[in-house]
């Protein structure tokens, strides 16, 4: 929860965005009266213009933004729309802009935020209503476009054969990249994704890095070049590193993208 301890826009935000070790003070802050300013809009009711609505509620000890939203919906406004499933930072549904920065509501403590909190839906993705966006549609299209599944060259897998062993170090690295929950924070934070509709973002490049690492995947660099060897792929990345700094799962996106850039340049230079 390291990012939760940084007040967005505060002194630390501009100075160094690399994750910092978790501090202990945030949950000990005195309980306050919170003001949640929520951007509200329903695309199915276009006659009602987009507006901010403010909800006031008492902060509770160790309150997450998700719990605050639950309280708003239970007691103040049942029509407020936002997504959640797991409440534990695993499903990636509750990503939203918290004071301008993409975060998971369930993993953001209100104690680490100022008393007035502005919430808005993630940009780039299709708006469902209020804070709810359709990341699923975007992610599915991305997976199809990037062929983000294991490509094994044996046409007929032998179901009786003993499964190939994998080196534990490789498996560990694979799991690390597999921790992506497709919450969309990297895409919402990405300056390139704002300018290029078809840019694959940190999530897309991480997927390619994951299969590139997998010894069971028989694709070569030339194959991957076909998928990400253009300005909507790895060469579109400006190296702003917002994806890396704002990933709620703290995935090593910067190093993965740098790795792919080197590999894809080599593949591009060796091919005709």
């Amino acid at each position: 929860m390291s990012l939760d301890d940084q007040p967005p826009g505060g002194p630390s935000a501009g100075a160094d965005d690399a994750p910092v070790p978790a501090g202990a003070a945030s949950s000990r802050a005195p309980l306050r009266r919170l003001r949640l300013r929520v951007l509200r809009y329903n695309p199915r009711e276009p006659q009602v213009p987009a507006r901010f609505e403010t909800y006031e509620l008492d902060e509770a000890d160790n309150m997450t933004l998700f719990l605050a939203l639950e309280e708003v919906r239970d007691r103040l406004d049942a029509s407020l729309a936002y997504d959640f499933v797991c409440r534990a930072g695993i499903c990636g549904s509750c990503a939203m802009l918290v004071n301008g920065r993409p975060r998971l509501a369930c993993r953001t403590l209100t104690g680490g935020l100022p008393a007035e909190i502005t919430l808005a839906p993630l940009p780039v993705f299709e708006l469902v209503q209020d804070l709810s966006v359709d990341t699923g549609k975007w992610m599915r299209a991305l997976g199809e476009r990037l062929h983000a599944w294991l490509h094994a060259q044996h046409v007929e897998p032998d179901l009786d054969a003993i499964e190939e062993r994998m080196d534990p170090d490789v498996a560990e690295k694979l799991y690390e990249l597999d921790r992506c929950i497709e919450c969309g924070c990297c895409v919402a934070a990405c300056g390139t994704a704002q300018m290029r509709v078809d840019f694959v973002g940190g999530v897309g490049l991480n997927k390619i890095a994951r299969f590139h690492l997998d010894p069971r995947d028989t694709r070569t660099d030339a194959d991957y070049y076909e998928l990400i060897g253009d300005d909507d792929g790895v060469f579109g990345c400006l190296g702003l590193m917002a994806c890396h700094d704002l990933c709620p799962k703290e995935l090593p996106l910067r190093t993965q993208i740098a790795f792919l850039r080197r590999r894809m340049v080599r593949a591009g230079l060796s091919g005709k």
Partner: protein
């Protein structure tokens, strides 16, 4: 052989290799120009050791100590090479800037919301790049148009009497910022100096970047001041300056 579970067997036009080449060319010209600028500022600052040191440096660049006489064409040829890289780098880097109002406002909406240092740094690259693109063009043309004009007294005269100092006052901080940020970003983009503590590496490189920028701006401004002072003295009393190069 078809890849299992894909339609990769279906004929598809092969992706162009051009994006890879252009990406490498953009970074490569940037790196060479940045290294050139680091050395250039040091040589220009030789004025701080006195006009004689600076004159020796200028004669060295013209091949005097190699061939026994000065060949200003060497400087001309080298400058032409720099101009070429400068143009290639500018054209390739310009592709990345927001094109049109919509992209511009979306990028800046995001930048403002995030308050994210490295996103903002890139925007500085766009701005300083544009400033360098305009001002360095004048400087480079001036070098090309005055073969044999290399030397402390010639430069001092240009800086002061030729009224180039306001241009250099803009060009100098812009170019040092662009070089410093550019080198840091190159390291980040390509994963240089990467180890298992990439967060620490990044923090250190960021520190090194600001240190480099600060010291080079300081050095450059001091040198510019020295040229201006020398030029001012020459303008007051032309006899203090040695004879200019014959055309």
């Amino acid at each position: 052989m078809a890849l299992a579970g894909t339609n990769a067997a279906a004929p598809r036009p092969r992706a162009s290799r051009m994006p890879a080449r252009l990406d490498l060319l953009e970074s490569g010209t940037g790196l060479l120009l940045a290294l050139f600028m680091l050395v250039h500022t040091l040589f220009a600052a030789s004025i701080l050791l006195g006009p004689e040191a600076s004159a020796t440096m200028a004669r060295a660049f013209e091949g005097y100590y190699l061939f026994g006489r000065s060949y200003p064409a060497i400087v001309g040829a080298f400058t032409t090479l720099i101009v070429l890289m400068f143009v290639v780098h500018a054209v390739l880097a310009m592709r990345k800037a927001p094109s049109g109002w919509a992209a511009y406002s979306r990028f800046h909406g995001n930048r403002g919301r995030l308050a994210h240092a490295d996103t903002t740094l890139w925007w500085w690259q766009v701005v300083t790049g544009a400033v360098v693109g305009l001002t360095a063009t004048i400087h480079l043309y001036h070098i090309l148009a005055n073969p044999g004009g290399l030397g402390p007294y010639e430069s001092a005269q240009q800086v002061w009497s030729g009224r180039m100092w306001p241009l250099y006052l803009v060009l100098l901080p812009a170019v040092e910022l662009h070089v410093g940020i550019g080198l840091y970003r190159l390291a980040m983009k390509w994963g240089w100096f990467e180890d298992d503590r990439s967060t620490r590496t990044r923090r250190r490189l960021k520190l090194a970047m600001w240190g480099l920028i600060g010291s080079y701006v300081l050095l450059g401004l001091t040198a510019l001041g020295a040229y201006a002072k020398l030029g001012y003295e020459q303008a007051l009393d032309p006899s203090t300056a040695p004879a200019m190069h014959a055309p």
